[in-house]
Symmetry: D2
Subunit: 397 residues, 4 copies
Amino acid sequence: MNLSRGRQYLATPGPSIIPDQVLRAMQRPAPDIYKGEIVDLTEEIKADISNFAGTHGETAIYISNGHGVWEASLVNLFQPKDKILIVSNGHFGNSWARLAERLNIDVEIMDFGTDVAADPNKIEYRLRSDKLHEIKGLLVVHSDTSTSIKNNLYDIRSSINNAKHPCLFLVDCIASFGCDIVEMDNWGIDVILTSCQKGLMTPPGLAYLIINKKAQNISKKNSNISPYWDWKTRINPELFYMNFFGTAPTHLLYAQHEALKIMKEEGKENIFQRHKKLQQIVTTAVNHWGESGPMKLNVPNEHHRSNAVTTFQAPGHDLNKLREWVEVNLGLTIGVSLGFDSEEYLDGKSVARIGHMGHLNPHMLIGVISSLEIGMTAQNIPHKSFAAEKIYDLLNS
Amino acid sequence: MNLSRGRQYLATPGPSIIPDQVLRAMQRPAPDIYKGEIVDLTEEIKADISNFAGTHGETAIYISNGHGVWEASLVNLFQPKDKILIVSNGHFGNSWARLAERLNIDVEIMDFGTDVAADPNKIEYRLRSDKLHEIKGLLVVHSDTSTSIKNNLYDIRSSINNAKHPCLFLVDCIASFGCDIVEMDNWGIDVILTSCQKGLMTPPGLAYLIINKKAQNISKKNSNISPYWDWKTRINPELFYMNFFGTAPTHLLYAQHEALKIMKEEGKENIFQRHKKLQQIVTTAVNHWGESGPMKLNVPNEHHRSNAVTTFQAPGHDLNKLREWVEVNLGLTIGVSLGFDSEEYLDGKSVARIGHMGHLNPHMLIGVISSLEIGMTAQNIPHKSFAAEKIYDLLNS
Amino acid sequence: MNLSRGRQYLATPGPSIIPDQVLRAMQRPAPDIYKGEIVDLTEEIKADISNFAGTHGETAIYISNGHGVWEASLVNLFQPKDKILIVSNGHFGNSWARLAERLNIDVEIMDFGTDVAADPNKIEYRLRSDKLHEIKGLLVVHSDTSTSIKNNLYDIRSSINNAKHPCLFLVDCIASFGCDIVEMDNWGIDVILTSCQKGLMTPPGLAYLIINKKAQNISKKNSNISPYWDWKTRINPELFYMNFFGTAPTHLLYAQHEALKIMKEEGKENIFQRHKKLQQIVTTAVNHWGESGPMKLNVPNEHHRSNAVTTFQAPGHDLNKLREWVEVNLGLTIGVSLGFDSEEYLDGKSVARIGHMGHLNPHMLIGVISSLEIGMTAQNIPHKSFAAEKIYDLLNS
Amino acid sequence: MNLSRGRQYLATPGPSIIPDQVLRAMQRPAPDIYKGEIVDLTEEIKADISNFAGTHGETAIYISNGHGVWEASLVNLFQPKDKILIVSNGHFGNSWARLAERLNIDVEIMDFGTDVAADPNKIEYRLRSDKLHEIKGLLVVHSDTSTSIKNNLYDIRSSINNAKHPCLFLVDCIASFGCDIVEMDNWGIDVILTSCQKGLMTPPGLAYLIINKKAQNISKKNSNISPYWDWKTRINPELFYMNFFGTAPTHLLYAQHEALKIMKEEGKENIFQRHKKLQQIVTTAVNHWGESGPMKLNVPNEHHRSNAVTTFQAPGHDLNKLREWVEVNLGLTIGVSLGFDSEEYLDGKSVARIGHMGHLNPHMLIGVISSLEIGMTAQNIPHKSFAAEKIYDLLNS
C-alpha cells in the first residue's frame, strides 16, 4: 500500500512554501512593460525591500538567483587583484569565496568552522593587522543555510569600527531576510544581498542588492563593471526597462509584490518574533531528542542559531535513510546536508536540515517534528521521544 | 505575538483539501457549452462515478449540494404519503428524514442512537412485520458525518433479502464516497447519493445520484417529478444541456474531472486501504489519549467506524475551547460537533470531529494529532500523551 | 495548415468571458464553512445583487443554473392548478412555461412572436378581462437570449396597474442582469430571477432570486414548498449553512464576490451605458451588412433590443456553415440559433447570435464583426462590407 | 462613459500572450530542487529548445532576460580587445554592440540601416578583407524587433564560407524563435540566443544559449569567464543546481515546459507556416492602408520581413496619439517605436509596431487591424480602409 498521496510537505530550507495568494498573483496576462501598474509595483517592491532591510539605501532587482547577486555585488565593487576577506562558517561562505576567486579577486577566507558564529575579536585583530588597508571588503553570510549558523552583524561592525578599517561591509542575507532581523543602516552594512525564494516567499528567479551611498560611490570609480550586473541604472533608471537591463520579469514581480503585501500586513516586528519562536520549536525538539540518543543541533550556542533553518546531526547514523523513510511513508521532505562532506559526517549522511522560513505556523512544524520521531523509530535512531510536550511551554514563554 | 500565519490547516470533515491540480483545472475560460471537450469530459465523469460506486448503473449529475440530491432522490422515487423507513445514527440521517417529511412522505425513523451502526436484525424484523409492503424505501446514511458511524450495507441488504421485502434501498454515501468501499451492484443498492466536496476532492457545487435499473423503472411511473430534479433526461440526455437541465457547471466539471484522474491514478483499492490506515491513525491516537483522561472515540466498535471522519468526545470538557486554542495559536482547524445538542454533551461542546477524506497522507494527520496534544495541555484536558508512538506500529501492521 | 491556435474567442451569449481576476479568486483552499470570511462575503454578495437590481428586497442564492431558479420561483409562489400568464417572445419564455406546466400549474402563454417586444396594451387587456383575478402571476423574460428581444418592464408594470390587477410580477433577468438596467422597486417587480454566468461574469453554478415583501408574504401561505427551493431560510438564515440549505458553494462564491467587486468599481451607470454601446456596435454592423444582402437583425425595432445579445438572420442562408468556417479558420465562435426550428428559418440554420455581456470592450466586438465579414465572403453570403466604418461615429455619438 | 473594460488586448512585440495552460502550470508549490520531476523537466526543456533550433548542439538555460544572454554569449567566447563584427539593422543590433563595447570588446558595426536586410555580399567583402582573421565573431540579430527586419542567415553563412573566414557565427533569435524557421546546424550557426517571453510564450525570466561544438571548444580556451555566465557547467552539470549555477527557477520552468508541450503538439512546420500567414495578414493590411495615405511598412521587401513583428510608419503623423486612442477607447494596445529617434520619424512618433508571436490566430489580428482603422479615422490619418477584405484571399492562398 502506498500512503504518500496528499500534499507533500517540503521542510527544506528553500524554495520555501509559497502562499496561495502569491501564486494567484501570477495568474494574469503579460502587461505592457512600458507603463502602468508594473511600473508602480516595481517601485513599491524596491522601497519595501529597502524598508525591510532597515535602510535608506537603494534596492536593485536582478533577474537571477542568489549566486547571481553574489557575482553582481563583487563585480560592482571590486576589481581583479583587489583583496577581500570572507568570513566563512559553512558551504555558502566558501562558495561565495570560490566565486570571487574565479573573478580573480584576491580572497582571504577566515574559516570559523561549521558550528559557531564568527568571532568578532578575531576579525578585529585581522583588520587591525591590515595597516595598509589592502582589504577592500569584508564579506559575511548572515545565516549560512548549510550550517544554520547566524553571525552577529552588529558585533562584526563594531570590530570594523574598532579597527578603524575603511573596508566595505557586505552581507549575504539570502537565507535570513524576512526571518532574522537586520538593521542595515544602524549596523553599518554597505551592501545586503538577498533573493526572493526564502523568507520573501516568491517562486525563485529574483535577487536583490540593497546598497548604501558609500558602496554606490565606490562603485562609480569602477570602470570595468559588466553591463548586466552594473547596478547604477538599476538603482536610478531613466526608463523602466533599465530597472532590469531589458525585459521586466513581470510575473515574478506580481508574485513578489503580493508576498510583500502579506509581510507588511503582519509587520516586521511580528515576523521576526514569529520566526524566532518557530526556530525555538525546532531546536527545542532536537535538543529533546538528544537527551537519549545521538541527535544534536549543529549549533550548540543558542545565540548563534539562525531563525530560518536548523541543521542537526546524528553522528554515526545515516539520516538520508530517515529522509527517505518519512518522504515515502509519511509525505514529508526534509533538507539534505550541504558542505559536511567528510568522514566525520559520513560524507554528509549524518546531517540534515529543516527550513522554517516564511509562510509557516506552529502546526506545520509540529507535524514535521512528530513525523520525524516516527521516522527515527522506523530507522532505529535512538532518541528521547515526544518532543511536542516541550512546545506548549515554549509557546507560553 | 501572533503565530497564526502560514497555511491554516483545515481538518474538518469537508469541504476537504483540494489538490492543486484540481484548483488549476478551473483556471480557464468558459468553453462552448454545446460541443467539444466539455461534452466528453462530462461523459467520463459519469462513467467514473459509476465505476467508483461499483455499478453498471447510471450517474446523474446535479448542480447542488448534498441536500439537493437528498431531495432529488426522494422526488424521483416517492410520492406524498408513500411510506419510507430511514435508518438513523446521526444528524444527517435525521435531517434527511425531516426533509422527506416536508415532501409529505410518510417517514418512519429507526433510530440506532449515535454510537453504533444500525442493527441489521432489527431492520429485518421491521421489514418482515411490513407484510403489506407499505414501506417503499429503506434509506441509510453510509457514514454519518456527525457521529462517524459507518453502517454495514452488505448486512442491511441481507436483511432486506431475508425479509423478502421489495423496498428500494437508497444509500447516502456523501461522506463515505472515495473513502470507504461501496459495491453498489454486489450489495444490491438501488440508489447511491454523493457529492463532490469530500472524498471526490472538488470545490462544492456538484452532487450525484447513481441509479440502477430497478430505481429507474420505478421512477418512470411517477408522474409528479419536478423538472429540475427529474433524473430521466440527466441520465439519457438527447442534448448535452439536458445533463444539467440547463447551463452546464463548466468549471466544477473541469475540477471534478481532474480529481477523478488523480483517483484513477491511485486506484480504487489503494484509495480505500489508505483511508482505512488514515482512520486508524486518528482512532489510535484518540484511544491512546483516553488511557489517562476523558478523551474517547464516539464509536466504540472499530467495525462501525467511518474511514472518512472521526468523532470524539471528552465528557465534561469544552472542546470548543480546544478548537479555538489550536486554531489561533497553532494554525489548525478541526470540526465542530453536529447533532449532539443535549446536556450530556454540554450541547455539543464536548464533541469534536476530524476529517480524513481525500487528499491526505500520514504526515498531515500526525501534525493534527500532535497539535491537539499541545492544545489539550493548554486547555488542561487530561490525556495520555504522545500518541504518535503508536503510529509506527500501525503503519507497519 | 491549421491556423486555429491562440485564444479561441467565444462570442456566444453565455457563459460569458470570465475576468482573470475572477478565475484567480478560486485559487484557494476550501475554507471553514461555519465562520469567517466566507460568511461576510456571502452577505456582501446578497446585498450587492439586491443593489444592482435596484431593490430593498432580499436575495436568495441557489446552487443551480437558471432553470433551477425558474423552478424555485414557481414552487415558492404557486400551487398546482394556480393560473399564471407567461409573456413569451422566444425559446426561454416558452421553456419556462413548459417547466411550469410540469409543475401542474395552469399556464396561459401570451405569445408575441420572435421579433417584437410584448405589447403592454394586450397584456392590460388580458388582465382587465380576468375579473375574478384568477391569474396569480405574470411572468416575463426581460431579454430572451434566443431572440434578443428586450421587453419593456416599466410599461408592463403600468399595464398591471392600469388593470388594477393584484397578480405577482416575476421577471427572468438571467440574460439581462448587469447588461440592461432594471429598477425592481421603481418598476414594481415582485421577483427577479438571475444567474451568475452572464452579466455577472462568474463560472456557472449559482443562481439568484431577488424577492420583495409582497412575494415573501404570499410565499408564507404556501405550505407545499419543497425544502431545497424554499427561499425562507435562504433569505433569513439562522445559521450560515441555511443560506444554501447545506454546504456552501465556496469557490463560486469567491468568484462571484470578485466579479461584483469589478462591477462596483465600474459603477452601475457606466455598466449599463457601456453595454448599450456594445449592443449598438453589433446591431449597427448587422444593419450595415444588410444594406446589400440578406443579413438582418432579428429585432427590427431598436427599442426592443437587448443590450446583452444580438440575434441576426440571413434568410435562405446556412449560418451554421459561417459559424464553422470562422471557428476553424479564424478562431472565433459565435452562438447557435435557439428556438427557430421552422422551415422559414431552415430549422434554425439561418439564425445566429452574438453575445455582448460582461467583460467586454469595443476592440473585442470589432474583431468579431470583421471576422464575420471575412467569413461571409468565404461562405458567399452577400453583404455590404466594412461595417467598422460606422463604429467611429457610433462611439462618438 | 468609459468603454475600456474587458480583456485589454496587448499587440506589442513581447512579452507575448501567455496561454492559460502555461499560466496554470505555475499554480503549484515549490518542489524539491534536488531530485524528481523538476530534473526531468529541465532536461526535456533543454532538448526541446535544441530541437526547435534544428541542432544537435547543447542548450544552456539562464535565469535572466535577453540582455543577459547577450552578455553571456560574449563573455564565454570573447576577451577584451577581441574584434567582432556586428551586423545591425535596428535598435537591438546596436544595443548588443554597445553592450559588447562595455565589455571592452573591439566592436565594428556594419550598419545596414533600418529598412532592409543585411547584404551578404557586403559581409563577404568585409570578411575577405580581414586577411589576418582578426574578426573573431560575426554577430547578427535574426529579426530585429525594432525594425521588423529579418536577415537571411543562410546567405550570411554562405558569405562566411565564401570568404573562407573562421569567425564564429552568433545569432540573436530572441524575437524570431518559434516564429521564423531557423536551422542552426544546416545554416552553420555556432551560437543561438533566445529568451522565453516571445515565441516561447512563457512569462519573462528565462533566456537560452544554444551552442555547437565549435563554440564550446573555443570557450574552453577562455580563462576569464565570469562564473554566472560560464556555460560549461550549465551544459554538462554534474549536479542539478549547476544547470542554473544556484537555485532553479522552478515556476518559470514549469511554465516553459508547458509552452513547449503546446508547441510540440502543433509541430514545428505548422508553427512557422502559421506565423508566416499571421505576418502576411498584418503586412497586407498596412499595404492596403497605404494605397490612400501615409501608412507604409517599414520593410519594403517582403523577403526581409520578420514573421514575429511588423513595424510600420505614417510619415508626418503622430502614431502615439493613435496608440493612445485605441488603448483608451477600444481596449487595444500596440507597440511603441524603438530606435527611430530622429526628426525624420518625429522622434519615433511616426512609427509603431504590432507583435504577432506565439499564441495567436487570425481572429485576434483581424480585431487589431479593424480597430486600428477606426483609430485612424478618429485621428484623421488618411488611409484606404477595409483591409479585412484582402484577408480572405490571403487565407486561401
